[in-house]
Amino acid sequence: MPLPNSNQHNYPNEAQFYEDLQAERPEAFNHLYLQTYQKCLPFALSKGSSQDEAKDLLQECLAIFVEKIRNGTYAFRADTKITTYFYSIYINQWKKAFEHKTKRAEVRLQTQYESPQDDAEETFKESISSTPFRVTLQDEDGHQEDISLPDMIDLADYDDSERSWIFRKLQRAMKLLSEDCQEVLTWFYIEDWSLKNIAQALNITEESATVKRFRCAKYLKEKFRLA
């Protein structure tokens, strides 16, 4: 059930929304953020996360999600709302982050939380052990939304360690590189520039650009050990 008052940009249908996300249109990104923020933040806050933790987690999950849309790993299905699919990812990731914290003894796992009566815990168990799983989200107006996920969703794609690798380790490794290399790798990996464009930007030959790009990519991998 959509929120009655949250649409900055109203999409006539999910297919159009998906198409705009693929095209990385600002209005689609805004819409996605606003929709998911309103559902995900109350969930994480109600479970004891801080505002910043909940927000960071949301932005990281969204970033991975839109990358999956871009590279085709996430395939749109007419029978599943895009935001519904995303909520499942967020909740699953929140749980993993919570478990990680618990393991590190940063928080105590409460008896009440562990209780089998706890709906969220039940949901989490299901989310790992079987599909489809269901979860109930409640918005600020008290409206509830039951989410049921189809079998095709591979939640293992979004493991906590991968998220940490992307947003911590990879980011740190990149920053350890020289500015030139950061620039070349940004053009190559993120902006998808051709060798010709890189060579032009650096005012070097394509052959030199090939060597430079390769070396910088190699250095990046080497920096993982230090990051």
């Binding site: 923020y37 990358e67 600020e140 902006e191 430079k212 390769f214 070396r215």
Partner: protein, 293 residues
Amino acid sequence: MELNEKTFEQIHAYLRGEGTEEERMEFEQRIIQDPQLAEEVTAQQRIKSGLKANKHKQRFAEIHAQLESEGALPTWEVVASPTEVPEVPVKPLSQPRPLWRYWAAAASVIIVAGVGWYIYTLQDTTPHLASHPDTTAPSDTTTIPRANQETPEPASPKPSSTPATPKTITPDYKALFAQNFSRTPSIGSPFSTEKLGVNPTMVARWQADTAALHEGIRLLDAGRGRSALVEFQKVEKSRFEELRQHGEWYVALALLWQSEYGQTRERLRTISTSEQHFYQTKAKNLLAKIDKK
């Protein structure tokens, strides 16, 4: 398998979905037969997606700041602590206003949002400046970029990654650049004269374009002319006339910084012949000085 430039290119061509079906199948056969190649393909895919995801995260952080400044994000009273599991869901302190009403209700709010965004993008430069203790805040708007104040030196344990002979700006052109480069261009909101019914999409576009302009200025300020040029080229294609004019001017400055004097002249000529261009006089003056050299 020893990874070399050729294999690296083949991996990325494969990841980009290039090649005929036969070529792709052939490469897939190689992947099956060579575990090291398979590992490298996975690694490259992971790095590529990971770096793109980092870019997306940055974008969502910007969207958050933008929506927050517009008052479009709800806030909640946290009724739980990490040691308590609430029985009642968190309640909103404020609800997001329906945006059509938001935009239509008060153009003044939009002005505030615009100004807020502008201030936000300006504030964004603070950590950048602060991260360079050798830089003091400019007392004048036409200050020389930081990277310009001393000869750039390679980062310490720098691998052999120095670019091949980049052009460097000569001191006399550097002085001209410094006289004309401003970190704080004056940008007016195109929505300030609107009364009602401002299209949120247009606001978002304007914000994205102003963000690109400020990003370009930050990059140029750090002496990264090439990257700055990419940002300014986005701005000069803006749907907003004023931003386009800023974009055109800064493209000319970035070209000057890159020592592309021929292209700089060409750009300046175009601006100086455009009636009512915000930078017409400046462009004329700068062009005259460059022509004298």
